[in-house]
């Protein structure tokens, strides 16, 4: 019998693809072994356990999103940058629902600190430079943006906005307009 050529990287990649096909929480060591036509126990030489596998998929997703986002915001500023960044977020979730779900996996603090999630946060702050906010308002704004992006995308993913007019993309555009306006007039608050 020829060897299957398993490595942690291949398993993670295949796990990510599987997640997009069948859903992240359906990704099990067994299902992945089936994909490779290999006995379940074989995977344990490459991956510590089920949790480890899922964490790797999560880190892959975070890195992919951060890469795309970095590409998107390069050379843009202000609303352009905001929109590009937000669209990356939304498009990624729509293209790769399983990976997006994986990216929401709670990570322990050290893992999170070493993940691409950090790059994400930095990019959000970079975008806000175009709106000239100083601390602590910048942090408030980072949290607002994160909430809107994540909230919108996950409600959309769970079908909250489908089957009702107007089209979700329209609302998305309107929401981004609103955020831009809000950020430009941030100081003018009650």
């Amino acid at each position: 019998m020829p060897r299957a050529g398993l490595t942690p990287e291949r398993l993670t990649q295949a796990g990510a693809e599987l997640a997009d096909e069948i859903g992240f929480d359906q990704v099990t060591v067994s299902a992945l072994a089936r994909q490779f036509g290999v006995q379940v126990a074989s995977l344990y030489s490459h991956v510590r356990n089920s949790q480890d596998l899922k964490t790797r998929i999560a880190l892959l997703a975070l890195a992919e999103m951060a890469d795309r986002a970095a590409d998107a915001v390069a050379g843009r500023a202000g609303k352009d940058a905001l929109t590009a960044f937000a669209d990356v977020y939304r498009d990624y979730a729509r293209e790769h629902p399983g990976r997006y779900a994986a990216a929401q996996l709670p990570l322990d603090p050290q893992t999170a600190a070493a993940s691409a999630g950090v790059r994400h946060a930095q990019m959000t702050r970079a975008i806000l430079r175009g709106y000239d906010l100083s601390e602590p308002d910048q942090t408030h704004a980072v949290r607002l943006l994160g909430s809107v992006f994540h909230g919108y995308v996950s409600l959309e993913a769970s079908g909250g906005f489908s089957h009702s007019a107007p089209d979700s993309s329209e609302s998305w555009a309107r929401v981004l307009d609103s955020l831009d306006t809000l950020l430009r007039n941030w100081e003018a608050q009650p």
Copy 2:
């Protein structure tokens, strides 16, 4: 041996409490049976299967949230109503993390349509009456509010905002201020 007095309602209630203690996805038929000091198979007379149990917990959580929200917005309007409604959302999630997680469970369309989620949506629209938006802007605004509330609360729950200044409650207040401003000036967009 005295009977344990199991009913679907008691199981759901106990399941909800268990969810808050150990996390919604740790709630299993086995764990629940252990709580009652009863054999696992006994639960299957009251609950169809594991999925059914989880759905019941989700519906309980949605109903509880809607009840609290209805109480909170009664007799309020404008920013008062917005804040009260949003605080219910956030407080519920902080008090009952397991139930809140349950409320995010994807429901099949008919179940969702019969759930208290509908009341929630109606209340959101009721709050927006104080801001005088007409369709389709009202729908866009409903989606924005839902996204912010859900997004903020789930990022907060997964620890996104802890361990960094300023305090999360400050950002929350600031976010609500922003939303209020945004809604009051909704028409004035580019």
